[in-house]
């Protein structure tokens, strides 16, 4: 029997010691930043790090340390965006498996970015971002529609399958565009793995307004999402404009993950793992869930990026690979405990 998942926000939106956990998440994010700047593929001693950041200097060591700053900022931003996008998508679909990667949203953004590079000739982040957002929105709408067909509405199983198959199909189309164009392929093959290694501060700044709008939409709809967790009818009875809230929240989520994908390529599972972990400790009130998830996501992605730089020295493992390897087991755990699939 397949049942629709128990809504993650079922019942009253409970919180447990939210301020304390916000502080913990903030400390984790700061710790991750420190680690990310201190460790990298080049081994640097702590006094040298201090020297490079605070005093300045122009030797290779100082330059290496300073080059870690933009990628750390990017990792923080992308991690926070993906985690908040995950919260929104899970809240809107009332589906514990919702994640930009699982739902095929990343692959939609990838396809349109490649279309932009190959056919429209765009080469800058100002161009990428529009294509990425369009693709993300189209893919999200498509997967949700397909997953809602049939009896029982959008069950976790149907959404996950629709996402997996859409991802594979869109990847095929992406490949079909790339194959005759070697020069685009060379850019794309590193982008597709998902990484923050080629961070440029001005790219990050270009995307900032989109992320800001996404965050604003999240903040606006947070309390509405709490009530939506009670079910559409109950929420409508309590005076929530159901359709508008859901549309705004979904737009916020898609903006955030489209922007993150434009910046760093498709990175999976951060949007899935973080909200679930945070919900375990903080509870299901979106007004706390969102900020704590953002901090935790920032910490997690920064940490994953640092791990990727350190474990395979002198090579780097792209952060998208690390998050998939860490995230898939959590996905399985969620399937086993949360999807309402019973024997």
């Amino acid at each position: 029997m397949i049942q629709t998942a128990a809504p993650p926000t079922a019942g009253a939106a409970v919180t447990r010691r939210p301020r304390w956990w916000t502080a913990v998440a903030l400390a984790a994010a700061l710790g991750a930043v420190a680690l990310s700047i201190a460790f990298g593929s080049r081994v640097v001693s702590l006094p040298e790090v201090w020297q490079a950041i605070v005093v300045g200097g122009d030797d290779i060591t100082a330059a290496a340390v300073r080059s870690r700053v933009p990628r750390t900022l990017l990792a923080l931003l992308v991690g926070a965006s993906l985690a908040m996008a995950g919260v929104m998508l899970q809240g809107v679909t009332r589906n514990p498996l919702a994640d930009p990667y699982i739902l095929g949203i990343n692959s939609g953004a990838s396809l349109t970015v490649v279309i932009g590079i190959a056919f429209v000739g765009i080469h800058s982040m100002q161009g990428y971002i529009w294509f990425a957002l369009t693709g993300a929105a189209l893919a999200a709408a498509f997967v949700y529609t397909v997953g809602s067909l049939g009896r029982g509405g959008p069950t976790p199983l149907k959404l996950a399958l629709a996402g997996a198959i859409t991802t594979a199909a869109l990847t095929s189309l992406t490949t079909a565009i790339l194959l005759p164009r070697m020069e685009v392929m060379n850019v794309y093959r590193f982008w597709v793995v998902g990484g923050v290694g080629r961070a440029e501060n001005h790219d990050t700044l270009t995307v900032m307004p989109f992320i800001a709008v996404g965050v604003a939409l999240c903040a606006l709809t947070a309390s509405g999402l709490n009530l939506l967790g009670l079910g559409d009818d109950a929420a409508a009875g309590l005076g929530v404009p159901v359709v508008r809230t859901r549309l705004l929240a979904a737009t916020g989520g898609v903006l955030l993950c489209g922007a993150a994908t434009a910046l760093a390529g498709p990175i999976g599972f951060v949007g899935l793992v973080v909200p679930h972990l945070v919900r375990l400790v903080v509870g299901s009130d979106h007004r706390w869930l969102l900020p704590v998830s953002a901090l935790t996501g920032a910490a997690l992605l920064t940490l994953a990026d640092t791990v990727g730089r350190v474990v395979a020295r002198p090579q780097e493992i792209e952060v998208g690979i690390i998050t998939a390897l860490l995230g898939a087991p959590v996905f399985i755990w969620v399937v086993l405990t949360r999807t309402g699939v019973r024997a």
Partner: protein, 341 residues
């Protein structure tokens, strides 16, 4: 319902299956002949027949005998293997979406084959055998994870999707880190391709098929009964667990051997089964039609990929692009018949 009605229905079903198999075989034969004749240079049938008969025809001997023939044979073998593996899983899990390429099993075989080739520097039989072991291991792992408190199809599929995502990222890592992004090789391991088809691959896969297909065919009768549900099948005298285990191993091994030869050709095992069901109807035996459907799919997709566009695309790109429309069709159809996935 009287006995004569049942008998008549059964006769109709078997006639329909016979017609389907004959039609699919003719299509496959025609496609096969076409793929030998057609190409950058078109050889007359007489030349192709001469090459097949072992005579030396200048030009044709190489391009037909060494390039087109192994490619076409491999397409048929891989398509049939994927088709059989797919329909076995779909029937056993009673879900049209539960094919080995969606629930991570071909991904397991794929990562292992890639690891053996890129990191360990192996080739040939060692690669295939490792891929099979990894495929069976992946299937067993997914089964164990899903088995807590009884195996539920839904849970197994979802866990498989998670495992598939993890293994896919391992594939990407191997490709990126080995710095071995020569396009032919990479495409083979990302979407499946026949561009590197050789007689060695053909030999390996046909050996595997000779060994494994009979097992699946013999157990095919039990498979039909397993469709009725475990209790009913046990009541009809099928040793459910044993049949299931043997079938799973045979199906996984087929998919894994095919993956080691061609890479994971997207969605062939996913699409072959439902198409075969549609052609044969709800009563007929499915394995042979699914094998033929898989072979027709791969062979025709390869022809489309090679000749329909300006650029030559690997077969997996063509079958992959078919996946999403096919899923939509499947969902709409299930909805219309009032079923549930």
């Amino acid at each position: 319902m009287s006995a004569t009605v049942v008998r008549a229905a059964r006769r109709r079903a078997s006639r329909r299956a016979g017609v389907t198999i004959a039609a699919l075989s003719c299509t496959l034969l025609a496609l096969f002949a076409f793929s030998l004749v057609w190409g950058d240079r078109i050889y007359p049938i007489s030349d192709v027949v001469a090459v097949l008969a072992g005579q030396d025809v200048p030009g044709a001997s190489f391009s037909v005998g060494e390039l087109r023939l192994p490619r076409a044979v491999l397409a048929v073998l891989a398509g049939a293997s994927f088709g059989i593996a797919g329909v076995t899983f779909q029937t056993m899990l009673r879900n049209p979406l539960a094919s080995p390429d969606i629930i991570g099993i071909t991904h397991g075989a794929n990562v292992m084959a890639l690891f053996c080739i890129l990191v360990l520097g192996l080739s040939g039989l060692a690669v295939s055998v490792s891929a099979v072991i990894a495929g069976v291991g992946t299937a067993f792992g997914i089964y164990l994870l899903a088995a807590r408190g009884g195996v539920v199809g839904t849970r197994l599929i979802l866990i498989g999707i998670g495992i598939a995502a993890m293994l896919h990222s391992a594939t990407l890592y191997l490709l990126v880190s080995a710095d071995q992004w020569d396009l032919q090789g990479a495409m083979r391991w990302l979407t499946g391709s026949l561009n590197l088809a050789s007689w060695d691959d053909v030999a390996m896969l046909s050996l595997a098929a000779l060994l494994l297909v009979p097992i699946v065919l013999v157990l095919g009768r039990d498979l039909g009964l397993l469709r009725l549900g475990d209790d009913a099948a046990a009541g009809l005298g099928v040793a459910v667990e044993r049949s299931r285990r043997l079938l799973v191993v045979a199906a996984v091994a087929l998919a894994a051997f095919a993956t080691a030869a061609t890479g994971p050709i997207s969605f062939v095992s996913f699409m072959a089964g439902p198409i075969a069901v549609r052609l044969v109807g709800p009563r007929g035996a499915l394995i042979v039609p699914a094998a033929l459907t898989g072979a027709v799919l791969v062979l025709s997709a390869d022809l489309v990929g090679q000749f329909l566009f300006e650029h030559r695309y690997p077969v997996g790109v063509v079958t992959g692009a078919l996946g999403a429309p096919f899923l939509v069709y499947l969902l709409i159809r299930t909805q219309r018949t009032g079923g549930s996935l």
